[in-house]
Symmetry: C2
Subunit: 213 residues, 2 copies
Amino acid sequence: MEYSQQVSVNTLQRLPTYLNYLKTLDENGNISSTEIAKALGLNDVQVRKDLSAVSSGGRPKVGYNIRNLIADLKEFLGYNSVNDAVMVGCGNLGRALMSYRGFREYGLRIVAGFDVAEEIVGREVSGKPVYPMENLPAFCREKGIRIGVITTPAQAAQKSCDLLMEAGIKAVWNFAPAHITVREGVLVQNENMACSLALLSKHLNEMLEETEK
Amino acid sequence: MEYSQQVSVNTLQRLPTYLNYLKTLDENGNISSTEIAKALGLNDVQVRKDLSAVSSGGRPKVGYNIRNLIADLKEFLGYNSVNDAVMVGCGNLGRALMSYRGFREYGLRIVAGFDVAEEIVGREVSGKPVYPMENLPAFCREKGIRIGVITTPAQAAQKSCDLLMEAGIKAVWNFAPAHITVREGVLVQNENMACSLALLSKHLNEMLEETEK
DNA sequence: TAGATTGTTAATCGATTAACAATC
DNA sequence: TAGATTGTTAATCGATTAACAATC
């Protein structure tokens, strides 16, 4: 029986970055934590610590085998298995995400969309059906769906989330600019673009202030 | 002369969340840090500390005036001024973001797109022109654009970023699943969906493991 | 072997939270 | 006034980084 080492959220979020970088390299070779750190602007100890949670380890003087490390990361991140998901809200953003083929590589497959708008219900987006909201609980239960993606307007986000939880969903990826509350055991990952923009905007303002001095 | 209090990245990223929440309330009233904390699942001291960096302050026994607090947050986050931006990459995601009207509320206006694909160059996306990549530097310099949004494939991200920096851009919002390197003084904000997915996927796996026990 | 590199233990740093005085 | 609530100082917690022993 194996008990997975506890991995912090910060570490977990860096792992895909390592994987991205490694995939740009020749698989037939080795790389040291120092090289990885330098390429990604991180500390080399941090890289080693992060990788130690995932990998069978590197070799002193040699580094990590790139092919093995890629395999370990993919395995750890669950990219080898596929999680089916539903999209709630099929506006511009929802449709764009439904059409994005890259998610498959990360083990995510959006299998259907749900929306309240009559214009879009019954249509297909990149070959995926769009159903009316009422069908959501039955659909998810039947297919055993565990991930819901929300791209509705803010005021509909909590209601959508409630419906998803009713449908037995265990993880919610929330693109709506709203806080949503879930019951214990359900994970919410917010992709709040306003929060990212706050950083950009502040940076620009600070630069402007410096110029004015 | 005012010198802005130093605000941590974590605090800065929470501010839009407060604003979102406050906007769902009646402006004519007051709210305590405890109530805000409870609604957003945060610690009340943290809320007070965050808000102290932004606001003229609350009143003991009364709390914060909602209207004032909203105004302070908007001012601090720069939502009252508009930053023009260009989109590099006008695929599904790029076009969806160009069409998203919500950014205006956050002080961001995407004024044009750039792409290498002949099919899309010359067309319009939600009334915004799409130009060939070659035009990017001249366009940005002429209009004084300081923000670039990247939604190209991973392998084109660094090249796009270099072009943006050449064009004098000061902040990059990177949606491509790739690390990009910038020179000092330029800010990169990564919106790496793979990193978010890592958290969702891990949560599902852990739940599954627990069930199997 | 000598030296590069890993992996781990200890120190540092920063963010969160607890305690509490100030205030309306 | 009494008590609710703010704002701040001190304590705690966790993440990052430095130091260093182990190893190939």
